[in-house]
Symmetry: C2
Subunit: 409 residues, 2 copies
């Protein structure tokens, strides 16, 4: 069994967290200068681990193993949410790096190769799963042409140019090359932490459906425009958002979640009646039928708001990912490894967060493993996990990878 070096894992995670450090977390948006620096550092580390590293035209860092007979692809994303956590994404990338080293150091694993990927923009600063979709032939050139940064509208092409990536080719998957894809991640929820368990085996990655709702009113002076004459897009927006939050609980399942995480007013000035407003509505569930019920309800609420006036109300679908089951054989092998190193301290559970593993699962068998998140906090700089869980997780993950390489045909 390949044996991981726990201190090496923790040291690399801490080094990676230096790129964009913010309090105890990290601010490292995709294609920002620190993100680009960190990807060059990762490529160097993959080279030191004996892999052939490449940074491709969308920012993916991929370490190839040219000689192995059977290969697992292991990865996660390396950018962070705005002012996000130090482990989200980074953990899975550094686990991949450590497994490449541990397998290379284990003479019993000479026929096996670990290839490592640090995907770009899983967190969606520009698009949705840009890196893993590019790698799996699911990112057309014209989408790249049209994509703009979520915060300041920078064209993706311009961001790639500035990051020194524009002239590089995009790497594409050869599914025959791999037994499958494996990804480790912090749970981000509190299921493991509150139940005192140490390893999660992912059964399904939820579907995530995203919508943009626009309210179109009439921009005007906040003093001289009498209330009866106003078409205030901000009022229309807060009323519709309140309706959504009132209605969704009635149709939700036990694990359904919905969020209005992004709101824009125009011109967003205290003395101007807003002429335009926008909000993004997102919901997640492992059951595709329930997602469809939510979508129907959202369309009805938007129509109702539009009919009520005085502002027009429009809805546009941004993205709909299907719920993706993980390969049952992968689940079994992760569970067997967990039982060996942490007997009775593991459970199977769905992933309420989206992951690159869902994208990869369209092209090859895929599996995912979780370690606990303290208090379930994530997408925030205070996100953390116990060091002993980080180290244990790496060893379970290495053991699971070997079991998969030996058993899955």
């Amino acid at each position: 069994m390949p044996t991981i070096d726990g201190q090496r894992v923790v040291a690399d995670l801490k080094r990676l967290a230096e790129f964009g450090r913010y309090k105890t977390g990290v601010h490292r948006p995709t294609y920002s200068p620190v993100d680009v620096e960190s990807r060059h550092w990762l490529a160097e580390k993959l080279g030191e681990a004996g892999l052939d590293p490449v940074i491709d035209g969308i920012g993916n860092v991929i370490g190839r193993n040219p000689s192995a007979q059977r290969r697992l692809l292991i990865g996660s994303h390396s950018e962070t949410q705005p002012y996000g956590g130090w482990l989200d994404g980074s953990l899975g990338v550094i686990y991949g790096l450590e497994l490449a080293r541990a397998f290379a150091e284990d003479p019993g694993c000479a026929e096996f190769g670990i290839e490592v990927a640090a995907w770009a923009d899983e967190e969606g600063h520009y698009g949705n799963y840009l890196g893993s979709r590019s790698f799996t032939d699911a990112l057309p050139e014209d989408e790249i042409d049209q994509t703009r940064g979520r915060d300041d509208g920078t064209p993706l092409r311009e961001a790639l140019e500035r990051a020194g990536l524009a002239a590089r080719p995009r790497e594409r998957v050869d599914p025959k090359r791999y037994v499958g894809y494996l990804e480790a991640h912090i749970e981000q929820g509190d299921t493991l932490d509150t139940s005192g368990l140490r390893i999660g085996i992912v059964e399904t990655i939820v579907g995530i459906w995203n919508y943009r709702i626009s309210l179109i009113g009439e921009q005007n002076h906040a003093g001289t425009t009498r209330m009866v004459r106003r078409k205030d897009a901000g009022v229309a927006m807060v009323r519709l958002a309140t309706r959504i939050h009132d209605c969704f609980p009635e149709i939700a399942g036990l694990r359904t979640v919905w969020t209005i995480g992004r709101i824009l007013l125009e011109p967003n000035a205290p003395s101007v009646v807003p002429g335009h407003a926008e909000m993004q509505v997102q919901f997640r569930d492992a059951d595709i039928d329930r997602l469809a019920v939510f979508e129907k309800s959202l369309h009805e609420l938007v129509s109702e708001a539009d009919r009520a006036g005085p502002c027009a109300c429009e809805i546009e679908t941004i993205a709909r990912t299907e719920p993706r089951p993980m390969d049952p054989r992968f689940q079994d092998q992760i569970e067997a490894a967990a039982e060996r190193h942490a007997p009775h301290m593991h459970m199977r559970l769905p992933s309420a967060a989206g992951h690159d593993a869902a994208v990869l699962s369209y092209r090859m068998p895929a599996g995912m493993m979780f370690i606990p998140s303290l208090r379930g906090i994530s997408h925030h700089w205070s996100e953390d996990s116990k060091e002993e869980d980080i180290v244990l997780g790496a060893q379970v993950f290495a053991d699971a990878a070997e079991r998969i390489l030996r058993s899955v045909r």
Copy 2:
């Protein structure tokens, strides 16, 4: 009677609108490069009109008349709202310039002097009435130290430095120098336009009370945080905003207006439960007792939201301007001039917008005159007035100024 040159007025307004032109309107935020350019152009025009021009340390452009025996100060602001109108503010400044020229050209007015001011930041890109408050000794140095740009948080000191203003002294009023202050403006509302009248005589400038409301929740992952565990500051905000819009109509007078024009979510990302939200609530009325009732209601709604949880809710007063009556003698003289040039086509009315005249009225007698706004549209690039109303307004204003200079002691 000083006679204005209508074509000269319109040409100067059009020239000024070139600084920051946006569609048929203007985008000229305070201290932006185009704003600074336009102030230098205005200083040059005031010099051509025979005044001694100065741009002071807060950005005010002031044209002094060194020789007159009796003086009126005439002005308005020259920056615009974001993507705002071409007349708002600019009209009053160019009227001032034209009156300086018309009085200088009229031998019967040799003893009278028109001094002209283009105030800085009436529109509040940085503060509240920075220019006129600076001029009337109502802007302390430490407020300048602490003020930051509303949009990007740039310190005001840094903006002044970049605008080349930091080293200049701030001009201060000598009230004994003036018979009073006069300001012309577009109405911005639709009262004149819908009643087919051409001149408005302002009786009172409404009080404007502004508040910042903060909602403090817990930032978290939008997938993995179950609904019952969330402290979503965005949900708290839209619910409170909806309550405000439901409750305020019950206590409003005929002309009370209220606006939530500015909303901020943090981190404002689609896949993150917002941990912090902020909104600015503003209301306006000519009756100070009604403003107090609104304030009491707002405090109650905030307390109610705070008690209901799960987010904390705080309120902070940003600014409270008192309703300011205009000098009755000024009103009478403006009305007499309106009756001469546009018989039966004028009315007295309150100003629902705030103006620098309210600030100046604490230090000297003040008056205001309105011309009609087409469809009452303002604070938007499509704001406009008929050219014949612009020209008529300038002549009424010149006549009113002479009447005031001759009669008010």
